[in-house]
Protein backbone atom coordinates (compact mmCIF):
# COMPACT_ATOMS: atom_id res chain seq x y z
CA UNK A 1 0.00 0.00 0.00
CA UNK A 2 1.25 3.45 -0.80
CA UNK A 3 0.64 6.44 1.34
CA UNK A 4 -0.34 8.51 -1.63
CA UNK A 5 -3.95 9.46 -1.57
CA UNK A 6 -3.60 10.77 -5.08
CA UNK A 7 -3.02 8.16 -7.77
CA UNK A 8 -1.57 9.07 -11.11
CA UNK A 9 -2.98 7.13 -14.04
CA UNK A 10 0.49 6.78 -15.55
CA UNK A 11 3.63 6.60 -13.44
CA UNK A 12 7.03 6.40 -15.04
CA UNK A 13 10.18 6.09 -12.99
CA UNK A 14 13.76 5.96 -14.28
CA UNK A 15 12.54 4.39 -17.49
CA UNK A 16 15.28 3.55 -20.00
CA UNK A 17 15.43 1.73 -23.28
CA UNK A 18 18.61 0.60 -24.93
CA UNK A 19 18.47 -0.86 -28.44
CA UNK A 20 20.95 -3.49 -29.46
CA UNK A 21 22.08 -3.78 -33.03
CA UNK A 22 24.94 -5.06 -35.10
CA UNK A 23 27.38 -2.97 -36.99
CA UNK A 24 27.04 -3.60 -40.71
CA UNK A 25 30.06 -3.17 -42.90
CA UNK A 26 29.57 -2.36 -46.55
CA UNK A 27 30.74 -4.89 -49.13
CA UNK A 28 30.34 -8.58 -49.74
CA UNK A 29 33.44 -9.75 -47.92
CA UNK A 30 32.59 -7.74 -44.84
CA UNK A 31 29.04 -9.12 -44.86
CA UNK A 32 30.46 -12.62 -45.03
CA UNK A 33 32.72 -11.92 -42.08
CA UNK A 34 29.67 -10.60 -40.32
CA UNK A 35 28.19 -14.08 -40.34
CA UNK A 36 30.83 -15.21 -37.90
CA UNK A 37 31.84 -12.20 -35.92
CA UNK A 38 29.64 -9.21 -35.43
CA UNK A 39 30.24 -6.07 -33.54
CA UNK A 40 27.40 -5.38 -31.15
CA UNK A 41 26.39 -1.76 -30.70
CA UNK A 42 23.97 -0.08 -28.38
CA UNK A 43 21.90 3.07 -28.61
CA UNK A 44 20.13 4.61 -25.70
CA UNK A 45 16.77 5.60 -27.11
CA UNK A 46 15.30 6.66 -23.77
CA UNK A 47 17.43 7.63 -20.79
CA UNK A 48 16.01 7.45 -17.26
CA UNK A 49 12.90 9.46 -17.80
CA UNK A 50 10.38 10.25 -15.06
CA UNK A 51 6.89 11.63 -15.32
CA UNK A 52 3.39 11.21 -13.93
CA UNK A 53 0.16 11.78 -15.76
CA UNK A 54 -3.18 12.43 -14.12
CA UNK A 55 -6.51 11.18 -15.34
CA UNK A 56 -8.01 13.31 -18.09
CA UNK A 57 -4.81 15.09 -19.07
CA UNK A 58 -4.01 15.80 -22.67
CA UNK A 59 -0.28 15.86 -22.81
CA UNK A 60 2.06 16.44 -25.72
CA UNK A 61 5.38 14.74 -26.33
CA UNK A 62 7.46 16.96 -28.48
CA UNK A 63 10.82 16.31 -29.99
CA UNK A 64 12.70 15.84 -33.24
CA UNK A 65 12.71 12.51 -35.09
CA UNK A 66 14.51 9.80 -33.13
CA UNK A 67 14.24 11.69 -29.85
CA UNK A 68 12.58 8.76 -28.07
CA UNK A 69 8.91 9.76 -28.21
CA UNK A 70 7.68 6.68 -30.03
CA UNK A 71 9.91 4.38 -27.97
CA UNK A 72 8.31 5.77 -24.83
CA UNK A 73 4.81 5.20 -26.20
CA UNK A 74 5.77 1.66 -27.20
CA UNK A 75 6.90 0.93 -23.67
CA UNK A 76 3.69 2.36 -22.22
CA UNK A 77 1.57 0.26 -24.57
CA UNK A 78 3.53 -2.92 -23.85
CA UNK A 79 5.16 -3.43 -27.23
CA UNK A 80 8.66 -2.87 -25.90
CA UNK A 81 10.27 -4.25 -22.78
CA UNK A 82 12.01 -1.54 -20.78
CA UNK A 83 15.74 -1.99 -20.28
CA UNK A 84 15.50 -0.56 -16.79
CA UNK A 85 13.16 1.48 -14.65
CA UNK A 86 9.48 1.08 -14.30
CA UNK A 87 6.26 2.10 -15.96
CA UNK A 88 2.83 1.63 -14.40
CA UNK A 89 -0.29 2.43 -16.34
CA UNK A 90 -3.66 2.12 -14.60
CA UNK A 91 -1.78 0.03 -12.05
CA UNK A 92 -0.64 -2.47 -14.71
CA UNK A 93 2.84 -3.25 -15.92
CA UNK A 94 2.42 -2.72 -19.67
CA UNK A 95 4.87 -5.31 -21.02
CA UNK A 96 2.98 -8.11 -19.28
CA UNK A 97 0.27 -7.42 -21.84
CA UNK A 98 -2.64 -8.44 -19.64
CA UNK A 99 -6.01 -8.47 -21.38
CA UNK A 100 -7.54 -6.37 -18.61
CA UNK A 101 -5.00 -3.67 -19.42
CA UNK A 102 -5.25 -3.98 -23.19
CA UNK A 103 -9.00 -3.44 -23.06
CA UNK A 104 -8.49 -0.08 -21.39
CA UNK A 105 -6.20 1.68 -23.82
CA UNK A 106 -5.74 2.23 -27.52
CA UNK A 107 -2.74 3.06 -29.64
CA UNK A 108 -3.03 4.90 -32.93
CA UNK A 109 0.07 5.24 -35.05
CA UNK A 110 -0.07 7.75 -37.88
CA UNK A 111 2.09 5.59 -40.09
CA UNK A 112 0.61 2.17 -39.36
CA UNK A 113 -2.97 1.14 -39.83
CA UNK A 114 -5.08 -1.38 -38.05
CA UNK A 115 -7.92 -1.07 -40.56
CA UNK A 116 -8.21 -3.79 -43.18
CA UNK A 117 -6.92 -2.23 -46.34
CA UNK A 118 -9.13 -4.11 -48.79
CA UNK A 119 -12.39 -3.86 -46.89
CA UNK A 120 -14.71 -1.02 -45.87
CA UNK A 121 -13.78 0.43 -42.46
CA UNK A 122 -17.04 -0.90 -41.05
CA UNK A 123 -15.70 -4.48 -41.24
CA UNK A 124 -12.71 -3.53 -39.10
CA UNK A 125 -15.04 -1.86 -36.59
CA UNK A 126 -17.11 -5.04 -36.31
CA UNK A 127 -13.95 -7.06 -35.83
CA UNK A 128 -12.73 -4.69 -33.09
CA UNK A 129 -16.10 -4.97 -31.38
CA UNK A 130 -15.47 -8.70 -30.99
CA UNK A 131 -11.78 -8.34 -30.11
CA UNK A 132 -12.59 -5.91 -27.29
CA UNK A 133 -15.81 -7.74 -26.42
CA UNK A 134 -17.98 -4.62 -26.61
CA UNK A 135 -21.70 -5.37 -26.01
CA UNK A 136 -24.01 -4.73 -28.99
CA UNK A 137 -25.83 -1.79 -27.47
CA UNK A 138 -22.68 -0.02 -26.34
CA UNK A 139 -21.06 -0.63 -29.72
CA UNK A 140 -23.93 0.95 -31.54
CA UNK A 141 -24.00 3.99 -29.26
CA UNK A 142 -20.23 4.53 -29.44
CA UNK A 143 -20.14 4.05 -33.18
CA UNK A 144 -23.00 6.47 -33.81
CA UNK A 145 -21.40 9.06 -31.62
CA UNK A 146 -17.93 8.76 -33.16
CA UNK A 147 -19.28 8.71 -36.70
CA UNK A 148 -21.20 11.89 -35.94
CA UNK A 149 -18.25 13.62 -34.28
CA UNK A 150 -15.82 12.76 -37.06
CA UNK A 151 -18.33 13.12 -39.87
CA UNK A 152 -17.50 9.81 -41.53
CA UNK A 153 -21.02 8.51 -42.14
CA UNK A 154 -20.65 8.51 -45.92
CA UNK A 155 -17.34 6.68 -46.08
CA UNK A 156 -18.03 3.72 -43.79
CA UNK A 157 -18.85 1.44 -46.72
CA UNK A 158 -15.96 2.51 -48.92
CA UNK A 159 -12.89 0.30 -49.20
CA UNK A 160 -10.20 1.73 -46.91
CA UNK A 161 -7.66 1.77 -49.75
CA UNK A 162 -9.87 4.25 -51.61
CA UNK A 163 -10.03 6.75 -48.73
CA UNK A 164 -7.88 9.84 -48.49
CA UNK A 165 -5.22 9.93 -45.78
CA UNK A 166 -7.36 12.25 -43.65
CA UNK A 167 -10.47 10.07 -43.98
CA UNK A 168 -8.42 7.04 -43.09
CA UNK A 169 -7.06 8.64 -39.96
CA UNK A 170 -10.60 9.50 -38.90
CA UNK A 171 -11.60 5.87 -39.35
CA UNK A 172 -8.51 4.75 -37.45
CA UNK A 173 -9.66 6.93 -34.56
CA UNK A 174 -13.15 5.41 -34.66
CA UNK A 175 -11.64 1.89 -34.61
CA UNK A 176 -9.42 2.82 -31.67
CA UNK A 177 -12.16 4.42 -29.58
CA UNK A 178 -15.02 1.95 -30.00
CA UNK A 179 -14.16 0.21 -26.75
CA UNK A 180 -14.02 3.54 -24.88
CA UNK A 181 -10.40 3.32 -23.76
CA UNK A 182 -9.39 5.19 -20.62
CA UNK A 183 -6.09 6.08 -22.23
CA UNK A 184 -5.33 6.94 -25.80
CA UNK A 185 -1.79 6.95 -27.18
CA UNK A 186 -1.55 8.93 -30.38
CA UNK A 187 1.70 8.66 -32.28
CA UNK A 188 1.95 11.36 -34.93
CA UNK A 189 -1.79 11.34 -35.74
CA UNK A 190 -1.56 14.23 -38.18
CA UNK A 191 1.52 13.12 -40.10
CA UNK A 192 1.23 13.68 -43.82
CA UNK A 193 -2.22 15.29 -43.62
CA UNK A 194 -3.12 18.53 -45.34
CA UNK A 195 -3.84 21.60 -43.22
CA UNK A 196 -7.62 21.18 -43.22
CA UNK A 197 -7.46 17.49 -42.31
CA UNK A 198 -4.92 18.27 -39.57
CA UNK A 199 -7.30 20.78 -38.09
CA UNK A 200 -10.24 18.36 -38.20
CA UNK A 201 -8.30 15.69 -36.38
CA UNK A 202 -7.02 18.23 -33.85
CA UNK A 203 -10.51 19.59 -33.16
CA UNK A 204 -11.78 16.09 -32.61
CA UNK A 205 -9.01 15.17 -30.19
CA UNK A 206 -9.63 18.32 -28.22
CA UNK A 207 -13.36 17.77 -28.01
CA UNK A 208 -13.08 14.09 -27.20
CA UNK A 209 -10.66 14.74 -24.36
CA UNK A 210 -12.86 17.46 -22.94
CA UNK A 211 -16.09 15.49 -23.12
CA UNK A 212 -14.93 11.97 -22.26
CA UNK A 213 -12.11 12.84 -19.88
CA UNK A 214 -9.98 10.32 -21.73
CA UNK A 215 -6.31 10.65 -20.89
CA UNK A 216 -4.44 11.32 -24.10
CA UNK A 217 -0.74 11.28 -24.84
CA UNK A 218 0.10 12.74 -28.18
CA UNK A 219 3.43 12.76 -29.94
CA UNK A 220 4.03 15.09 -32.78
CA UNK A 221 6.70 17.09 -34.39
CA UNK A 222 4.15 19.57 -35.63
CA UNK A 223 4.23 22.49 -33.25
CA UNK A 224 0.70 23.41 -34.25
CA UNK A 225 -0.72 20.17 -32.78
CA UNK A 226 0.89 20.76 -29.44
CA UNK A 227 0.04 24.45 -29.29
CA UNK A 228 -3.60 23.83 -30.06
CA UNK A 229 -4.15 20.81 -27.86
CA UNK A 230 -1.85 20.53 -24.92
CA UNK A 231 -1.61 22.56 -21.76
CA UNK A 232 1.24 20.41 -20.64
CA UNK A 233 4.15 19.49 -22.81
CA UNK A 234 7.03 17.08 -22.34
CA UNK A 235 9.99 17.87 -24.52
CA UNK A 236 12.26 14.95 -25.30
CA UNK A 237 15.59 15.21 -27.00
CA UNK A 238 18.24 12.51 -27.34
CA UNK A 239 16.19 10.26 -25.05
CA UNK A 240 16.02 12.72 -22.20
CA UNK A 241 13.22 14.87 -20.91
CA UNK A 242 14.48 18.40 -21.14
CA UNK A 243 11.24 20.09 -20.20
CA UNK A 244 8.04 18.97 -18.52
CA UNK A 245 5.46 21.60 -17.68
CA UNK A 246 2.96 24.10 -18.95
CA UNK A 247 3.48 25.29 -22.48
CA UNK A 248 3.17 28.91 -21.34
CA UNK A 249 5.87 28.53 -18.70
CA UNK A 250 8.19 27.18 -21.33
CA UNK A 251 8.22 30.56 -22.99
CA UNK A 252 8.99 32.36 -19.76
CA UNK A 253 11.71 29.88 -18.86
CA UNK A 254 13.44 29.66 -22.19
CA UNK A 255 12.67 32.94 -23.91
CA UNK A 256 14.79 35.40 -22.00
CA UNK A 257 13.65 38.24 -24.21
CA UNK A 258 10.43 39.68 -25.58
CA UNK A 259 9.81 41.30 -28.91
CA UNK A 260 8.93 44.96 -29.44
CA UNK A 261 6.96 45.43 -32.65
CA UNK A 262 6.97 49.09 -33.59
CA UNK A 263 5.36 50.86 -36.52
CA UNK A 264 6.51 54.27 -37.62
CA UNK A 265 4.82 56.93 -39.71
CA UNK A 266 6.00 60.08 -41.53
CA UNK A 267 9.38 59.44 -43.06
CA UNK A 268 10.01 56.28 -41.06
CA UNK A 269 13.37 55.49 -39.44
CA UNK A 270 16.94 54.59 -40.33
CA UNK A 271 18.53 51.37 -39.13
CA UNK A 272 21.10 53.23 -37.03
CA UNK A 273 18.35 55.02 -35.11
CA UNK A 274 16.82 51.82 -33.71
CA UNK A 275 19.79 49.42 -33.55
CA UNK A 276 20.92 50.75 -30.19
CA UNK A 277 17.71 49.49 -28.49
CA UNK A 278 18.37 45.78 -29.10
CA UNK A 279 18.84 43.05 -31.66
CA UNK A 280 16.79 43.65 -34.77
CA UNK A 281 14.67 40.68 -35.83
CA UNK A 282 13.05 42.47 -38.72
CA UNK A 283 13.67 45.86 -40.20
CA UNK A 284 12.13 48.14 -42.74
CA UNK A 285 11.57 51.85 -42.68
CA UNK A 286 8.10 51.67 -41.20
CA UNK A 287 8.10 48.47 -39.24
CA UNK A 288 10.70 47.13 -36.84
CA UNK A 289 10.91 44.11 -34.52
CA UNK A 290 13.46 44.33 -31.73
CA UNK A 291 14.48 41.60 -29.27
CA UNK A 292 14.76 43.05 -25.78
CA UNK A 293 15.63 41.33 -22.52
CA UNK A 294 12.56 40.51 -20.48
CA UNK A 295 13.42 42.81 -17.52
CA UNK A 296 14.35 45.74 -19.69
CA UNK A 297 11.39 45.65 -22.01
CA UNK A 298 9.32 48.36 -20.30
CA UNK A 299 12.28 50.61 -19.96
CA UNK A 300 13.23 50.32 -23.63
CA UNK A 301 9.65 50.83 -24.78
CA UNK A 302 9.49 54.03 -22.70
CA UNK A 303 12.76 55.22 -24.17
CA UNK A 304 11.52 54.66 -27.70
CA UNK A 305 8.20 56.41 -27.02
CA UNK A 306 9.90 59.42 -25.46
CA UNK A 307 12.49 59.67 -28.24
CA UNK A 308 11.89 61.88 -31.26
CA UNK A 309 11.24 58.87 -33.53
CA UNK A 310 7.89 59.03 -35.39
CA UNK A 311 6.24 56.14 -33.48
CA UNK A 312 2.77 55.24 -34.66
CA UNK A 313 2.20 52.11 -32.59
CA UNK A 314 4.18 49.88 -30.22
CA UNK A 315 3.41 46.30 -29.15
CA UNK A 316 5.17 44.08 -26.62
CA UNK A 317 4.96 40.43 -27.68
CA UNK A 318 6.19 37.07 -26.46
CA UNK A 319 8.62 35.29 -28.70
CA UNK A 320 6.97 32.78 -30.99
CA UNK A 321 6.87 29.35 -29.34
CA UNK A 322 8.27 27.66 -32.47
CA UNK A 323 11.26 29.93 -32.15
CA UNK A 324 11.75 28.88 -28.53
CA UNK A 325 11.55 25.17 -29.29
CA UNK A 326 13.89 25.48 -32.23
CA UNK A 327 16.39 27.18 -29.94
CA UNK A 328 16.07 24.43 -27.34
CA UNK A 329 16.76 21.69 -29.87
CA UNK A 330 19.69 23.59 -31.32
CA UNK A 331 21.56 23.56 -28.03
Amino acid sequence: MTKNTHMSIIEVKNLSKVYEYYKKQPGLLASFKGLFKREKLFTEAVKEIDFNIEEGELIGFLGPNGAGKTTTLKMLSGILYPTSGEAKVLGFTPHKRQKEYQKQFALVMGQKNQLWWDLPAMESFILNKEIYEVPDKEFKENLDELVELLDVKDILDVQVRKLSLGQRMKCELVAALLHKPKILFLDEPTIGLDVVAQKNIRDFIKKYNREKKTTIILTSHYMEDIKELCKRVVIIDHGKIIYDGALNDLIIEYATFKVLNITFNDAGVQKEQVEKFGKLQKFNQYSVSIEVEREKVKEVAMAILSSDLPVDDILIDEVDIDEVIRKIFKK
Binding site: K17, L80, D118, L119, L127, E130, I131, Y132, E133
Partner: protein, 265 residues
Protein backbone atom coordinates in the same frame (compact mmCIF):
# COMPACT_ATOMS: atom_id res chain seq x y z
CA UNK B 1 -13.41 -17.76 -29.37
CA UNK B 2 -16.04 -15.59 -31.04
CA UNK B 3 -13.41 -13.01 -32.00
CA UNK B 4 -11.51 -15.61 -34.02
CA UNK B 5 -14.70 -16.68 -35.74
CA UNK B 6 -15.29 -13.06 -36.83
CA UNK B 7 -11.67 -12.94 -37.94
CA UNK B 8 -12.30 -15.95 -40.20
CA UNK B 9 -15.36 -14.18 -41.57
CA UNK B 10 -13.48 -10.92 -42.17
CA UNK B 11 -10.69 -12.76 -44.01
CA UNK B 12 -13.33 -14.48 -46.07
CA UNK B 13 -14.89 -11.13 -46.97
CA UNK B 14 -11.47 -9.86 -47.95
CA UNK B 15 -11.04 -12.85 -50.21
CA UNK B 16 -14.33 -12.02 -51.94
CA UNK B 17 -12.84 -8.70 -52.98
CA UNK B 18 -10.24 -10.61 -54.94
CA UNK B 19 -12.52 -12.92 -56.89
CA UNK B 20 -10.96 -12.01 -60.21
CA UNK B 21 -7.46 -12.63 -58.83
CA UNK B 22 -8.54 -16.06 -57.63
CA UNK B 23 -9.88 -16.95 -61.07
CA UNK B 24 -6.69 -15.71 -62.68
CA UNK B 25 -4.75 -18.12 -60.47
CA UNK B 26 -6.96 -20.94 -61.71
CA UNK B 27 -5.91 -20.14 -65.29
CA UNK B 28 -2.29 -20.63 -64.22
CA UNK B 29 -3.25 -23.90 -62.56
CA UNK B 30 -4.84 -25.19 -65.77
CA UNK B 31 -1.64 -24.58 -67.74
CA UNK B 32 0.37 -26.21 -64.93
CA UNK B 33 -1.77 -29.35 -64.98
CA UNK B 34 -1.89 -29.67 -68.76
CA UNK B 35 1.91 -29.33 -68.83
CA UNK B 36 2.34 -32.22 -66.38
CA UNK B 37 -0.09 -34.38 -68.37
CA UNK B 38 1.82 -33.59 -71.58
CA UNK B 39 5.17 -34.54 -70.05
CA UNK B 40 3.97 -37.87 -68.69
CA UNK B 41 2.15 -38.66 -71.94
CA UNK B 42 5.45 -38.12 -73.77
CA UNK B 43 7.38 -40.26 -71.28
CA UNK B 44 4.91 -43.14 -71.55
CA UNK B 45 5.20 -43.16 -75.36
CA UNK B 46 8.39 -45.22 -75.03
CA UNK B 47 7.63 -47.20 -71.88
CA UNK B 48 4.62 -48.69 -70.15
CA UNK B 49 5.86 -48.29 -66.58
CA UNK B 50 7.82 -45.65 -64.66
CA UNK B 51 8.97 -46.69 -61.19
CA UNK B 52 5.98 -48.98 -60.85
CA UNK B 53 3.45 -46.49 -62.21
CA UNK B 54 1.51 -47.18 -65.38
CA UNK B 55 0.16 -44.29 -67.45
CA UNK B 56 -3.29 -44.21 -65.86
CA UNK B 57 -1.83 -44.33 -62.35
CA UNK B 58 0.47 -41.43 -63.19
CA UNK B 59 -2.38 -39.32 -64.57
CA UNK B 60 -4.38 -40.16 -61.46
CA UNK B 61 -1.38 -39.14 -59.31
CA UNK B 62 -1.18 -35.81 -61.12
CA UNK B 63 -4.92 -35.11 -60.76
CA UNK B 64 -5.48 -36.33 -57.21
CA UNK B 65 -2.06 -35.03 -56.10
CA UNK B 66 -2.86 -31.59 -57.47
CA UNK B 67 -6.18 -31.54 -55.65
CA UNK B 68 -4.59 -32.52 -52.35
CA UNK B 69 -1.73 -30.05 -52.79
CA UNK B 70 -4.34 -27.42 -53.45
CA UNK B 71 -6.50 -28.33 -50.46
CA UNK B 72 -3.54 -28.13 -48.09
CA UNK B 73 -2.20 -24.78 -49.41
CA UNK B 74 -2.32 -21.64 -47.31
CA UNK B 75 -1.30 -19.03 -49.91
CA UNK B 76 1.87 -17.67 -48.41
CA UNK B 77 1.17 -17.32 -44.70
CA UNK B 78 4.98 -17.27 -44.32
CA UNK B 79 4.99 -14.00 -46.30
CA UNK B 80 2.28 -12.55 -44.09
CA UNK B 81 4.19 -13.45 -40.93
CA UNK B 82 7.52 -12.11 -42.13
CA UNK B 83 5.92 -8.91 -43.39
CA UNK B 84 4.10 -8.39 -40.08
CA UNK B 85 7.40 -8.69 -38.26
CA UNK B 86 9.52 -6.64 -40.62
CA UNK B 87 7.16 -3.72 -41.00
CA UNK B 88 6.11 -3.61 -37.37
CA UNK B 89 2.53 -4.58 -38.18
CA UNK B 90 2.90 -7.01 -35.32
CA UNK B 91 2.47 -4.01 -32.99
CA UNK B 92 -1.21 -3.89 -33.86
CA UNK B 93 -1.63 -7.45 -32.57
CA UNK B 94 0.52 -6.93 -29.50
CA UNK B 95 -1.51 -4.05 -28.13
CA UNK B 96 -4.91 -5.70 -28.56
CA UNK B 97 -6.44 -8.51 -26.50
CA UNK B 98 -5.82 -11.00 -29.27
CA UNK B 99 -3.39 -13.88 -29.80
CA UNK B 100 -1.25 -13.41 -32.89
CA UNK B 101 -0.76 -17.11 -33.56
CA UNK B 102 -4.46 -17.90 -33.22
CA UNK B 103 -5.24 -14.93 -35.47
CA UNK B 104 -2.96 -16.36 -38.14
CA UNK B 105 -4.79 -19.70 -38.09
CA UNK B 106 -8.15 -17.92 -38.25
CA UNK B 107 -7.07 -15.64 -41.12
CA UNK B 108 -5.63 -18.57 -43.01
CA UNK B 109 -8.88 -20.54 -42.67
CA UNK B 110 -10.81 -17.52 -43.94
CA UNK B 111 -8.51 -17.12 -46.90
CA UNK B 112 -9.10 -20.54 -48.43
CA UNK B 113 -12.86 -20.18 -48.98
CA UNK B 114 -13.22 -18.83 -52.53
CA UNK B 115 -10.09 -20.51 -53.75
CA UNK B 116 -11.37 -23.78 -52.33
CA UNK B 117 -14.61 -23.54 -54.25
CA UNK B 118 -13.03 -22.55 -57.57
CA UNK B 119 -10.22 -25.10 -57.22
CA UNK B 120 -12.55 -27.99 -56.50
CA UNK B 121 -14.84 -27.08 -59.39
CA UNK B 122 -11.84 -26.85 -61.72
CA UNK B 123 -10.52 -30.21 -60.60
CA UNK B 124 -13.88 -31.95 -60.97
CA UNK B 125 -13.93 -30.76 -64.58
CA UNK B 126 -10.37 -32.03 -65.12
CA UNK B 127 -11.11 -35.41 -63.57
CA UNK B 128 -14.21 -35.65 -65.75
CA UNK B 129 -12.20 -34.88 -68.90
CA UNK B 130 -9.58 -37.51 -68.01
CA UNK B 131 -12.14 -39.93 -66.58
CA UNK B 132 -10.98 -42.76 -68.84
CA UNK B 133 -7.51 -42.56 -67.35
CA UNK B 134 -8.46 -42.01 -63.71
CA UNK B 135 -8.00 -45.09 -61.54
CA UNK B 136 -10.78 -45.55 -58.95
CA UNK B 137 -9.73 -45.59 -55.28
CA UNK B 138 -8.24 -48.93 -54.23
CA UNK B 139 -10.36 -49.31 -51.10
CA UNK B 140 -13.30 -47.10 -50.20
CA UNK B 141 -12.36 -47.19 -46.50
CA UNK B 142 -9.10 -45.41 -47.44
CA UNK B 143 -11.11 -42.38 -48.56
CA UNK B 144 -11.92 -41.70 -44.92
CA UNK B 145 -8.21 -41.91 -44.02
CA UNK B 146 -7.34 -39.62 -46.92
CA UNK B 147 -9.80 -37.01 -45.68
CA UNK B 148 -8.22 -37.13 -42.21
CA UNK B 149 -4.70 -36.94 -43.67
CA UNK B 150 -5.62 -33.96 -45.88
CA UNK B 151 -7.15 -32.19 -42.89
CA UNK B 152 -4.02 -32.80 -40.81
CA UNK B 153 -1.89 -31.90 -43.84
CA UNK B 154 -3.49 -28.48 -44.04
CA UNK B 155 -2.49 -27.71 -40.46
CA UNK B 156 0.95 -29.25 -40.86
CA UNK B 157 1.63 -26.96 -43.79
CA UNK B 158 0.14 -23.99 -41.98
CA UNK B 159 2.35 -24.51 -38.93
CA UNK B 160 5.41 -25.04 -41.15
CA UNK B 161 4.64 -21.76 -42.93
CA UNK B 162 4.19 -19.88 -39.67
CA UNK B 163 7.44 -21.32 -38.34
CA UNK B 164 9.25 -20.33 -41.50
CA UNK B 165 7.78 -16.83 -41.41
CA UNK B 166 9.03 -16.35 -37.85
CA UNK B 167 12.61 -16.41 -39.19
CA UNK B 168 12.01 -12.73 -39.96
CA UNK B 169 12.65 -12.00 -36.28
CA UNK B 170 16.32 -12.73 -36.97
CA UNK B 171 16.81 -12.17 -40.69
CA UNK B 172 16.07 -8.82 -42.26
CA UNK B 173 15.07 -9.87 -45.77
CA UNK B 174 13.36 -13.21 -46.15
CA UNK B 175 11.68 -12.86 -49.56
CA UNK B 176 14.27 -15.08 -51.27
CA UNK B 177 14.07 -17.67 -48.51
CA UNK B 178 10.28 -17.66 -48.70
CA UNK B 179 10.35 -18.36 -52.42
CA UNK B 180 12.76 -21.26 -51.85
CA UNK B 181 10.56 -22.55 -49.06
CA UNK B 182 7.45 -22.73 -51.28
CA UNK B 183 9.22 -24.81 -53.94
CA UNK B 184 10.98 -26.96 -51.32
CA UNK B 185 7.70 -27.91 -49.61
CA UNK B 186 5.92 -28.66 -52.88
CA UNK B 187 8.82 -30.85 -54.01
CA UNK B 188 9.31 -32.79 -50.76
CA UNK B 189 5.59 -33.30 -50.30
CA UNK B 190 5.33 -34.92 -53.73
CA UNK B 191 3.48 -32.01 -55.30
CA UNK B 192 5.58 -32.16 -58.49
CA UNK B 193 5.98 -35.92 -58.90
CA UNK B 194 5.80 -39.09 -56.79
CA UNK B 195 8.62 -39.25 -54.25
CA UNK B 196 9.33 -42.82 -55.39
CA UNK B 197 11.13 -41.23 -58.34
CA UNK B 198 13.81 -40.05 -55.92
CA UNK B 199 16.92 -42.09 -55.06
CA UNK B 200 15.83 -44.75 -52.59
CA UNK B 201 17.85 -43.30 -49.68
CA UNK B 202 16.41 -39.81 -50.06
CA UNK B 203 12.96 -41.31 -50.46
CA UNK B 204 13.30 -43.25 -47.21
CA UNK B 205 14.63 -40.22 -45.34
CA UNK B 206 11.76 -38.10 -46.66
CA UNK B 207 9.28 -40.41 -44.94
CA UNK B 208 10.61 -39.27 -41.56
CA UNK B 209 9.71 -35.67 -42.34
CA UNK B 210 6.20 -34.20 -42.30
CA UNK B 211 6.26 -33.10 -45.95
CA UNK B 212 5.75 -36.54 -47.50
CA UNK B 213 2.51 -36.97 -45.61
CA UNK B 214 0.97 -33.86 -47.13
CA UNK B 215 0.50 -34.91 -50.79
CA UNK B 216 2.51 -38.02 -51.61
CA UNK B 217 1.23 -40.28 -48.87
CA UNK B 218 -2.56 -39.75 -49.29
CA UNK B 219 -2.18 -40.16 -53.06
CA UNK B 220 -0.34 -43.45 -52.52
CA UNK B 221 -3.18 -44.51 -50.29
CA UNK B 222 -5.66 -43.65 -53.02
CA UNK B 223 -3.76 -45.72 -55.57
CA UNK B 224 -3.51 -48.64 -53.16
CA UNK B 225 0.30 -48.51 -53.14
CA UNK B 226 0.18 -48.15 -49.38
CA UNK B 227 -1.92 -50.41 -47.13
CA UNK B 228 -4.67 -49.15 -44.82
CA UNK B 229 -2.53 -50.11 -41.83
CA UNK B 230 0.37 -48.05 -43.19
CA UNK B 231 -2.12 -45.27 -43.74
CA UNK B 232 -3.01 -45.29 -40.05
CA UNK B 233 0.70 -45.25 -39.22
CA UNK B 234 1.07 -42.21 -41.48
CA UNK B 235 -1.70 -40.43 -39.58
CA UNK B 236 0.11 -41.07 -36.31
CA UNK B 237 3.38 -39.72 -37.72
CA UNK B 238 1.57 -36.60 -38.96
CA UNK B 239 -0.10 -36.02 -35.59
CA UNK B 240 3.28 -36.36 -33.88
CA UNK B 241 4.73 -33.80 -36.27
CA UNK B 242 1.83 -31.45 -35.64
CA UNK B 243 2.43 -31.62 -31.90
CA UNK B 244 6.17 -31.13 -32.38
CA UNK B 245 5.63 -28.16 -34.70
CA UNK B 246 3.22 -26.59 -32.24
CA UNK B 247 5.80 -26.80 -29.45
CA UNK B 248 8.63 -25.52 -31.65
CA UNK B 249 6.50 -22.58 -32.84
CA UNK B 250 5.68 -21.66 -29.24
CA UNK B 251 9.40 -21.66 -28.35
CA UNK B 252 10.50 -19.77 -31.47
CA UNK B 253 7.67 -17.27 -31.10
CA UNK B 254 8.55 -16.54 -27.48
CA UNK B 255 12.22 -16.11 -28.27
CA UNK B 256 11.51 -14.00 -31.32
CA UNK B 257 9.13 -11.84 -29.39
CA UNK B 258 11.78 -11.24 -26.75
CA UNK B 259 14.07 -10.00 -29.47
CA UNK B 260 11.31 -7.86 -30.96
CA UNK B 261 10.56 -6.30 -27.57
CA UNK B 262 14.26 -5.87 -26.88
CA UNK B 263 14.29 -7.95 -23.72
CA UNK B 264 17.46 -8.55 -21.79
CA UNK B 265 19.86 -5.89 -22.88
Amino acid sequence: MRKYWILIKTSWLRQLVYRSTVYAYRLGNIVDLLFQVAIWTAVFKTTSSVYGYNYDEMITYVMIGWLINFLTSNYGIEDVVSRNIQYGELNIYLVRPLSYLKSLVAMSLGRISIALFSGIVMQIIFIFIFRHHIVPPAHLIDILLIIIIVFLGYFTRLLLSILFGLIAFWVTDVSGLNSFYGIFVKFLSGGYAPLTLLPIMIYKISLFFPFAYIVFFPTQLYLGKVTTLEGLKGILIEITWLAALYIVIKIVWNRGLKKYEGVGI
